[in-house]
């Protein structure tokens, strides 16, 4: 987007206003991605913090070759991977009490969906990470399979497979809950 290119150029010149606008524009998007991948509010907030601080640190030399949104999403994904590596050395953090926010005007519908989303989050956290990444980056990150394949260092057909298996597992987990 042209607006993003201009924002990046202004950030490169050290504009505080532009930096704030980049943060406001992408903070929720990155938090949703990070939380979707980590299922951990505090860790997801840390990821968002680190992504923006790193962006500010390199802003003066920053060269944007693709989209800013894609760039930030890739940074978030890389930091999520770092967090997951850290987790293997530590006990898993307790899930934060912050509930997911649902875009719905109907309060009753909202409660039902919030419960459903909570179950979905649990289910997402139980599928293998590579599949989770394919599902979240594609559906929430709007990334193309080709871009995800590049990130994971595998072929596009492998990503297709991981995405499909991931969705199938989610469906099967959520449907088995319904049957119980």
């Amino acid at each position: 987007m042209l607006e993003d290119k201009l924002l990046v150029l202004k950030c490169r010149r050290g504009s505080r206003d532009a930096m704030c606008r980049v943060y406001k524009k992408y903070k929720d998007y990155l938090l949703t991605l990070a939380k979707g991948l980590l299922n951990d509010q505090a860790a997801a907030e840390d990821v968002v913090h680190d992504v923006f601080v790193s962006f500010a640190r390199s802003a003066r030399q920053f060269q944007l070759t693709g989209s800013l949104r894609g760039y930030l999403a890739t940074c978030a994904r890389n930091r999520v991977r770092d967090k997951i590596r850290e987790r293997t050395r530590r006990a898993q953090a307790l899930e934060s009490a912050n509930p997911a926010i649902v875009d719905s005007d109907n309060p009753e519908h909202c409660i039902i969906e919030a419960e459903e989303l909570q179950r979905l989050r649990q289910a997402i956290s139980q599928i293998p990470y590579e599949q989770r990444e394919a599902v979240i980056l594609h559906l929430k990150g709007d990334m193309k399979f080709r871009e995800i394949a590049k990130l994971q260092g595998v072929s596009v057909s492998t990503i297709h497979g991981r995405y499909r298996y991931g969705l199938d597992k989610l469906r099967s987990m959520l449907n088995s809950e319904l049957e119980q």
Binding site: L6, C11, G14, M19, T32, V53, L174
Partner: protein, 410 residues
Amino acid sequence: MRTAEDIKRLIKILTDKTSAQMDERVLKDVLFTLEESKKKSALTQPNIWRTIMKSPITKLAAAAVIIAGVVLSFTIWDKTTPTAYAFEQTIQASHSVQYLHIKSFMVSISDEPIECWVEFDPSGQIKNMRINKPAWMDPSDGESVIVWKDGKMEFWIKKKNFLFIQKDQEIAAQVLSMVEQFDPKHAVANILQAQDEGDTEIEIDEPENKAEPVIITATFPVENDLHVQRSKLFVDQATKLLNKLETYQLKDGEYIPFITIEFYDYNIPIDSEVFTLDNIPSDAMRVDETTQEIGLLQGDLTDNEIAAEVVRQFFEALIARDYAKAGRMFGGVPGERVQKKYGHIRFIRIVSIGKPVLNPATNELKVPYVVEVEENGIITEWKTKYNYIPVREVHGQPGRWATTGGPLGI
């Protein structure tokens, strides 16, 4: 039972929002880091002219860059200088500017200015713009004109009878951002922003005669490695608007005039024809990247694979004498133009297409190749004189790749 579509829908509405506390914490750290990086970059700021010369889009934006360069680096040392004039007055006055005409002179090179007309929208953003580039800026191109209108950039090179139209956001943003820099309110705002950063001396001369301008002189330390060592701003005392900006380079202890920018016709409406390229000859070569699909779609191919494929299909089209297709591979050049250039050559076969190599300066992939051709009755191999073709993603057409010609210029 939930279907896969239900799961997709649920994932898509999954939304987390940051809290006010988180925003405060992150922004505090982000802005602190940005300030720290500014301090570091002030020490290592490169010579802007060297940067300009290395930029792959120099040709398109050079006029804007030359005007912009002089106002990028204002810093002030003495912010307590006693004077009735305040920088904020000029910024305030400049906010109401809707139309502006600018002339920029490279004093040591030519008397002929780079001219620019800008129309701002009510929010102060550039709406329309035209730059007239004189021939001295690029003798190989001669005079040229850049017009930015409705998000579209038109680039007209009279000497080459060539009109290039594109809508690439990267280039548009670069040009607009640079033009923003010679918006006079930015020139003065940059001074204010830099007040806490620099070690530059500043003097303000405010004549009693109100018909004479306020002159602000900023002198920069030589060790900053900036392209100018002194700048003077001339501010109209009545309107508080910037009338002129002069820059100087220090050579042998003397400040030599470098670039002068003059600001005219504040808020005098600019005729819409100024932002329209007319009188383009009917036989001009017209490459419009906004109305045709150029090159090949990448699909699942890697960057190297698509670059090699573009070159292969380009030569296959020449072998088949399908000049329209060759033109599409060649950045959208009309088929007649390709035929005019290569129609007399018989392309016999592709001998080899090698592994592409990235050119980091231009972000293009250089694809080596060898083809067998017959020219003037002599069969030969092109492999030394024309030993590679650059290929890149088409501006404004994500996912499509084409060659930009390189040594095979048309």
